[in-house]
Symmetry: C2
Subunit: 339 residues, 2 copies
DNA sequence: TATGAATATGAAAACGATTTCATTCGTTTC
DNA sequence: GAAACGAATGAAATCGTTTTCATATTCATA
């Protein structure tokens, strides 16, 4: 309610001086500073954000694009991003694209209308050439997603390596018939993991068998369904690589219910290292993703880009994944952890 | 980059007319309207949000306060709230208080500085009297939380009833030694459920036994720990009421690992009806909370309050909970669902 | 003691929209 | 044919800050 003008009137000073006090600028006498501070307190004055944004051409708000927040991986990403943003004095607006290119494009207008200072894309639903024009309005940083065409900073995890170590682990344990489950087809993340999966197979002179491949497998229920599909194959796989712990948990749950033994009848490896991996019995071998570090880096980068105003720079920051060996692949044997 | 002034210059019209076109005001000739639209297109013009916010005294942003987003209950709440907000043309800023009163108070300044038009509190860490002063700057709506002192709209679930039906279900199945696990002590939600728990006991002439009570039990790991505490009691409970599915899952997981049978040795009821309830074996009897409806209502209400500018009104909207009976309380018997 | 630098302050112009109030036309109405 | 009205348009004020520029004062230096 109270404006800077009210404070000026009450103190008998000009708006300029009040502003100097607010922003800790030099050249204000200690006497006046105290006077101003008291008046602000008395009036309950606080600067109006919109006016500041307009004048300073910055909102101190970031937008984070995700498909949907109920996916635990993205919950964790949002949590970490919000904390990192707060550390830099930024608020975080959540944009759930729900896998819709139109919604994504629509949310992009937040950048165009200057409602946010920058966009972190943890989900891409459009081709880069559709997104690129927005770059003239502010920085865009890719986080956990990437696009070869995109000439912007990219913070990502080494998903090829993730697919590789998980698969290699299964191969080392003697499996040769390994099924493959992944989430979104179009997602770069899934594609990278598949490359790593194939790379590991190739090292063992094995080839990718499309009959063992299951795509668009996301949830617990999908895992349960896929389990039955796998068991219906003439040559049943003895191990399965999955793109998420939920799918792994679904497979394990259904397998146990049907009287199969894990890992003796089927070894299962998940992805994400979420809480459920410690819940199932056996616990789930999985791949840990350093989400917090990635989020922190993405925020650091975008804040820097906002300051320097250089948006079109292709920089890649990659974080390693880590295999966490648990019981779903090695049973009750003593198992050593692998890096 | 382009401003309304640029459009005015290009078309040879005044800013006023451009503004009329933007806001679909009457009294603009079709000829000029087209001219303006073309110019806007050509310049890539889009109105600046900060300028609009300043002039219109509204930001079209809501703040949602939650303790932390990785709690699946809150993930779901955020998802639903974001969708509902978008329907009304509002963006959503996420404020994770992480159970800290200071953080909460700090985020409240978003309202004071007019960075948001309203606040939805799905978590309260301060006494109402500390929060109340902010009411002069904009509406506050309580969602899933409540405070008897708070004279603001409150959207909530009937947690007393939730505690009651879950407990009654156990009582009906013959249990008399029922342990009680809850999350945050201070939380009104936990307190209400406890009232319902006690009410059900009372109907069966039973009294609450503090030795069977476990507080501050939140996660899977807490459930595992509590299981051992329960089993260490001289008179072991035969059933347990929990405040969350994760805790229930932790208890079940640990019980099975230690060779106990569920529900024969211990019947378990969870809360929230989350995905893991279908994952464990046995599946988990739980209480479904209509989160989407609640979130939708909270947004509808706050949008209305923003418009009417009447913030201090005590209105209560309550949604019912629903018991979902699964195997963790009735085993493999055929089980009928209860309302 | 005159000169220049450093300190302290304010007036007014931005920032980019919307809105109030005039003003200018045509039309209609009596 | 004058009065009244509605449609179309624009000038200027406004929203609440920050910043530029100018001015006044103090203080040290030659």
């Amino acid at each position: 309610m109270a404006t800077i003008e009210d404070v000026a009137k009450l103190t008998g000073l000009s708006r300029t001086t009040i502003s100097r006090v607010i922003n800790n600028h030099p050249y204000v006498s200690e006497e006046k500073r105290k006077l101003v501070l008291e008046a602000m307190e008395k009036l309950g004055y606080v600067p109006n954000s919109s006016a500041r944004s307009l004048r300073n051409q910055k909102t101190s708000i970031l937008a984070l694009f995700i498909p949907r927040i109920t996916n635990p991986f993205f919950s964790e990403l949002v949590e970490a991003t919000e904390i990192a943003a707060a550390e830099h004095g930024y608020q975080l607006i959540i944009c759930q694209t729900r896998y819709s290119p139109e919604k994504e494009l629509n949310y992009m207008n937040l950048l165009k209308t200057k409602q946010v200072d920058g966009v972190i894309l943890a989900s891409i639903q459009n081709e880069w050439k559709k997104l690129k024009p927005f770059l003239q309005y502010g920085p865009i940083v890719l986080c956990n997603e990437f696009d070869d065409c995109a000439n912007v900073p990219t913070v990502r995890l080494d998903q090829v390596y993730g697919g590789y170590i998980a698969t290699k682990h299964l191969l080392e344990r003697g499996h040769t018939k390994i099924a493959y489950c992944s989430g979104g087809y179009r997602s770069n993340v899934a594609q990278s993991r598949e490359i790593g999966f194939k790379k590991a197979l190739a090292e063992y002179k094995l080839t990718f068998d499309e009959r063992y491949a299951f795509r668009d497998v996301f949830h617990i229920a999908d895992g349960k369904r896929v389990f039955h599909q796998m068991m219906a194959l003439s040559e049943r796989p003895t191990a399965v690589f999955t793109g998420s712990d939920e799918v792994a948990a679904g497979i394990i749950s259904e397998a146990l219910r049907c009287g199969y033994r894990i890992p003796e009848d089927l070894a299962v490896v998940g992805f994400d290292n979420q809480a459920i991996t410690e819940l199932t019995n056996p616990t789930i071998t999985t791949v840990h993703q350093p989400v917090k570090q990635m989020a922190q880096k993405a925020v650091d980068i975008i804040v820097e880009k906002i300051q320097t105003k250089k948006y079109e720079v292709k920089e890649i920051y990659e974080f390693p994944l880590q295999l966490i060996v648990r019981a779903s692949t090695v049973g009750s044997e003593l198992h050593e952890s692998e890096a």
